[in-house]
Symmetry: C2
Subunit: 226 residues, 2 copies
């Protein structure tokens, strides 16, 4: 499947690498390819420059949002929450009927420092905002509840004995995402239902950042025991 991943940070890179590993034709989209490839210093989070990562992943394309979106059957939104609708618009998310859009972003507000609050929550969510902005797309909220290192490597924690929670309006789109997840080794997948459940997946991040802080490691996830 031809997939466009929007966002060049650690989340976009991890998902691009994973989706290519299981046999997809993946390109990463960005606003400005030249400036991205010219950067040669780690960012403020210590993430190595994109160009050096790309040197080890030459099977993954890099192009402007519009180019990556053109012809992609599926888009992954791995941009910052505040930039998501603009990036998806640039990638033409709304121009292809029934295209799957996996929304991985969180509406994090760091204006009060760490831990962040959310700039939309409770009675709305970023996932719903994206679905409303692109009614022709089939939005699935997924992967926003964990650190990048676990996204396509569940076995990196407790032999994969933990849970992946997702939601979205379209059953076939969720089945496609679940197929990816099983290919990565996820064994326990909970579907919360329609896209309004993005409120839950994003609200959980308020809990996640504080567990991360209390446990002093992002290598954590929940197992939904039932």
């Amino acid at each position: 499947m031809r997939i466009g991943v929007l966002g060049t940070g650690i989340v976009g890179r991890s998902l691009a690498e994973g989706l290519a590993r299981i046999g997809n034709d993946v390109s990463i989209g960005t606003r400005d390819v030249d400036s991205l490839m010219a950067r040669d210093e780690p960012d403020q989070m210590g993430t190595p420059p994109f160009a050096s990562w790309r040197g080890e992943h030459e099977d993954i394309g890099v192009a402007a949002f519009a180019e990556v979106g053109d012809g992609a059957e599926l888009l992954v939104n791995a941009t910052h929450g505040t930039a998501s609708v603009a990036a998806l618009t640039a990638a033409g998310a709304g121009t292809v009927d029934a295209r799957i859009v996996i929304d991985v972003a969180n509406p994090l507000d760091f204006s009060g420092g760490f831990p962040p609050s959310l700039w939309v929550t409770n009675t709305d969510s970023l996932g719903e905002q994206i679905q409303r902005a692109f009614p022709a797309a089939r939005v699935v909220k997924a992967w926003n509840t964990m650190t990048a290192a676990l996204m396509t490597h569940p076995e990196a924690l407790a032999d994969g004995d933990h849970t992946f929670v997702l939601c979205g309006d379209d059953e076939d789109a969720k089945t496609q995402v679940a197929d990816f997840l099983r290919a990565f080794g996820w064994r326990d997948i909970v579907d919360l239902g329609d896209i309004t459940n993005a409120r839950a997946l994003e609200a959980y991040v308020i809990m996640w950042v504080r567990m991360f802080s209390a446990l002093d490691s992002p290598m954590l996830n929940i197992k939904v025991v039932r």
Copy 2:
């Protein structure tokens, strides 16, 4: 220990029964004892009338909030979120320095139907509101993240292999709560830190109600895998 439990619903009853079972002197507080004891029909949730429950738990006292609060070393707030500050005020929560107040309530807003939203969240929480209302008290947010049947019976789910998450400003108060928890059989307790983390424990409830709905059972909890 002399404990006052505020609230006569299924949560208050479960905690009162459990805390009495492990050797505490427990009374349940209510606004109006006579009308409570006179009710002889199940409520709209199907919970049996208080008087019939009390018939099987005669070791547990029943009295007005003020009476129950008087002399109690520890208060448990198991009232509805909207009624919590008033009930705690009536029980004199602020009149005894350093008294432990365990806040079990959630700021649930059912005005939009099910699933509920929260009437305070994200940058504040009910737990913090209670701590601010009663600065002399030592508030611990606990037990708000699960169904009543699990609160003092973790073994009722997966042999107790799941996690209890709590928070609060006072270390000794949290140690006391953790002692209760271990007496009930809780083996994995995560302390998120100070009372501002009540934002996380309450935000998680947005996730919990939707998991309850998707899984069609309240007998669920998270295991924090790390």
